[in-house]
């Protein structure tokens, strides 16, 4: 029995919400990056679900494309975190507020 799309959507919604809460509430930059991964994966799940529902491979292609971009994004994100740590001795994003007005 195929999994109905609504379940998949609810699941991806929960996943996205967890990721979003992680981005908004955690201080650690690495955790935030991880939370962003969660949100992106929730989006990927949506792509896959609607690809299957609509019989269109473009969604799956988009999912693979997203995973590839996410790998680059993580590389850059970690590099930023590394540079941050070297300069400021911290990776807590609330302590980094040089742009405060």
């Amino acid at each position: 029995m195929p999994v109905p799309p609504s379940h998949v959507l609810i699941f991806s919604l929960l996943l996205f919400s967890i990721g979003m809460l992680g981005v908004l509430t955690r201080r650690n930059a690495i955790i935030i990056l991880m939370s962003i991964e969660l949100m992106m994966n929730a989006a990927n799940i949506n792509f896959i679900a609607f690809s299957r529902q609509l019989n269109n491979l473009a969604g799956q292609v988009f999912g693979v494309f997203t995973i590839a971009v996410a790998a680059g994004e993580v590389a850059i994100g970690l590099a930023v975190v590394l540079a941050l740590f070297r300069n400021r001795d911290t990776i807590y994003v609330d302590e980094v507020h040089v742009m405060k007005g």
Partner: protein, 693 residues
């Protein structure tokens, strides 16, 4: 010599310039005195020549040409030097202008000789009298004296009223300068008046008179259209009695100031603050007679104004008696002579006012001789007494200074009117004219004559006779004056003795030389309708003469009894009529009355004007200032708070807004993200909710 008319005033003026500029430092003392005297002597000689030239009508007519115009019939020569004030053309088409012109006729001839002759003698006398002055003061004195001569000669020779007025003001200036010659000295101990104050008093009192002179001049210009004296006099008949009277009275106001008549006589006694030669020259012989001269000069005008003429006579007669009364109780030798001068000037005015202009001029001349002599004699006495002027501290001087005494006797008898000295004839002629006019005026004149004889005798006996009342120190210094002072005294004594022969009345079987000489001047424009008073009968005239002679003798006799024989009489007399005595001794308190009645209100007016100026006028100016200041404060306030405020408000608004917005920019990325999420949530919610409907 007529062509040299211009040189007569100019010579002393050059003397003034030389002495004034070079005298104080460069010229030796001797040169200063000689220069000044020679300048006047040359004037005298030129005058003599010029006067000789107008005597002969034929030669005078031939002399006309160039700057000279002549009127042979009237023995008059006019020298026009230049056009002084070109005024323009009148509505009638006549050219209005004032020329700087000198006129010589018998009247100015007499004045010329008196002024330059007596002036020269006084200059010579001053060389000795002022010998103790330091050199700058000495030079200053002679410079002023020469300037005075120049101005007096301008006055006498002026052919038009403005030229006369220049001289008139000039002599006033010199009078002021010379009265205040000792400007650092106190003149009157009782009132604390300084010599400078006395000069100012003379100047200011004269100003009042000059105002009248000026107004008279302007009135004549407005009505007659000319200021040339002969031009005015020629029209005197057509001007109308009203204009003539007004103009004559206004000119007489000027004459009152200059010739010290009631009510403007008060300056002359204080003018005695000047050095004695000045008193002799300016305040006895010449300047003060300028008023009489002007009245005589304008005689035809006065003849057309009977009321003005009567005023002249009454004022003159009243002054003669009033001043003589005050003279009775003065103790300063010069003050006695000063009041005597006022009184004698009154005499001249009385003579002129009664129609006897030549009698006035005659007395002017004889008075110049004997009064100059009296003053110079007084100067010699003061010189001998080491500066003492109080006659109570003199006495018995006849032995010490015989020359001064001898000449003084001549002057004393002459002024008292003893036959055959000069004063007798001139005084008698005036009295005869007064008698013809009115017995009352004659009474005034006769009373004045009696008083004159009396106070002059008082002066004479107190000074030269009786016990010497000065201290040993002074007695030690008493000395006869130097020759430069004695010679002028002797010459003047001769003149005072014999001057009367020029005017011996016809009743005595002689010719009235002066009267005949002056006749053309006063007959130039015979009064229309008013016939000249008939000559008195010879018997009556002789009777009047006898009366005036008796009066003079009686006055002298009384003076002799009172002050030589029975010196205690005056004291008892003064005690018995104490009030009257104090009134006379206090000079009738005229000065005090003037102080209260004229000066006090005047000062009050000045103070009021000053108050008005300070508080009202200045107040208005200050108010304008305050208003401007207030406006500027308002303007500044508006600028600071409104204009700047608006600008600042913009800034504050922007700053406040930025303060609010800055709160959002925390720098914490998560808060931005939260905002984004919330925004999306709201947008989606709105979208979904609106989509449903």
């Amino acid at each position: 010599m007529l062509g040299l008319l211009w040189a007569i005033p100019l010579l002393p003026f050059l003397g003034f310039l030389l002495n004034g500029i070079l005298g104080p430092r460069l010229l030796p003392r001797r040169a200063v005195g000689i220069l000044a005297s020679v300048a006047v002597l040359l004037s005298f000689l030129v005058s003599l020549g010029a006067i000789a030239a107008i005597a002969d009508p034929v030669a005078l007519a031939a002399a006309a040409g160039g700057s000279l115009t002549t009127d042979a019939g009237h023995h008059r020569a006019v020298q026009t030097l230049w056009t002084w004030m070109p005024i323009g053309t009148s509505a009638q088409g006549t050219v209005l202008r004032v020329d700087w012109a000198y006129a010589l006729d018998p009247l100015s001839a007499v004045m010329l000789l008196v002024v330059t002759g007596v002036g020269f003698l006084i200059h010579v006398y001053s060389i000795g009298y002022m010998a103790h002055e330091p050199r700058p003061a000495y030079a200053r004195f002679f410079a002023y004296l020469n300037l005075f001569m120049a101005m007096m000669l301008t006055l006498v020779l002026g052919a038009s009223l403005p030229v006369v007025f220049v001289g008139w003001e000039g002599v006033g200036l010199c009078s002021y300068l010379l009265i205040g010659f000792y400007y650092d000295r106190v003149f009157d101990e009782t009132t604390g008046m300084t010599c400078a104050d006395a000069g100012r008093k003379a100047f200011i009192t004269n100003r009042i008179g000059d105002m009248g002179f000026m107004l008279g001049m302007l009135l004549l210009f407005a009505t007659a259209g000319t200021l040339d004296i002969q031009g005015i006099l020629a029209q005197a008949g057509t001007l109308g009695t009203g204009v003539c009277t007004a103009a004559a009275l206004l000119l007489f106001v000027g004459a009152c100031g200059k010739s010290a008549q009631i009510p403007l006589y008060v300056w002359l006694p204080d003018a005695m603050a000047g050095p004695t030669p000045v008193s002799a020259l300016i305040h006895a012989a010449t300047m003060v007679t300028a008023g009489v001269y002007v009245v005589c000069r304008m005689a035809p005008l006065y003849q057309h104004a009977p009321a003005a003429l009567l005023t002249v006579a009454v004022v003159g007669g009243a002054t003669a008696v009033f001043a003589a009364l005050i003279g009775l109780c003065q103790n300063d030798i010069k003050k006695v002579l000063a009041y005597s001068t006022v009184s004698q000037l009154g005499y001249m005015m009385l003579g002129a006012g009664c129609g006897g202009f030549e009698a006035g001029v005659f007395h002017l001349m004889t008075h110049a001789f004997f009064k100059a002599l009296l003053f110079l004699g007084a100067g010699s006495v003061i010189h001998a007494m080491s500066g003492e002027q109080d006659i109570r501290k003199m006495g018995g001087l006849d032995r010490y200074i015989p020359w001064t005494h001898g000449t003084f006797v001549v002057a004393w008898l002459a002024i008292s009117g003893i036959f055959p000295l000069s004063g007798f004839f001139s005084k008698d002629e005036i009295l005869a004219w007064a008698f013809r006019k009115s017995i009352l005026l004659w009474g005034l004149g006769a009373g004045g004559a009696f008083l004159t004889a009396f106070y002059m005798s008082r002066l004479y006996f107190l000074v030269f006779h009786g016990r010497a009342r000065f201290d040993k120190e002074t007695r030690h210094h008493v000395h006869e004056s130097p020759r430069t002072m004695i010679v002028p005294l002797v010459v003047l004594a001769a003149l005072a003795f014999a001057g009367g022969v020029l005017g011996v009345p016809e009743a005595l079987g002689a010719r009235n030389v002066l009267g005949e000489y002056l006749a053309p001047v006063f007959e130039a424009a015979p009064a229309a309708g008013t016939a000249a008073p008939a000559h008195l009968a010879a018997g009556l005239e002789l009777g009047l003469m006898a009366v005036s002679f008796a009066i003079a003798v009686f006055g002298i006799f009384l003076g002799w009894v009172f002050y030589a024989q029975r010196p205690e009489i005056p004291a008892t007399f003064a005690e018995n009529v104490g009030g009257l005595y104090r009134l006379v001794a206090g000079k009738f308190y005229v000065d005090e009355i003037y102080d209260r009645v004229i000066l006090a209100p005047y000062y009050a007016l000045c103070r009021a004007a000053s108050w008005f100026d300070r508080y009202v006028v200045d107040g208005a100016v200050n108010a304008a200032g305050y208003v401007t200041l207030g406006t500027s404060y308002t303007s500044v306030g508006f600028d600071t708070y409104v204009v700047d405020g608006l600008v600042n408000l913009t800034g504050y608004t922007v700053r406040g807004a930025s303060w609010v917005f800055r709160k959002f920019q925390t720098g914490v990325v998560q808060s931005y993200a939260t905002a984004v999420v919330l925004g999306i949530f709201i947008l989606v919610s709105v979208y979904l909710l609106t989509q449903g409907h």
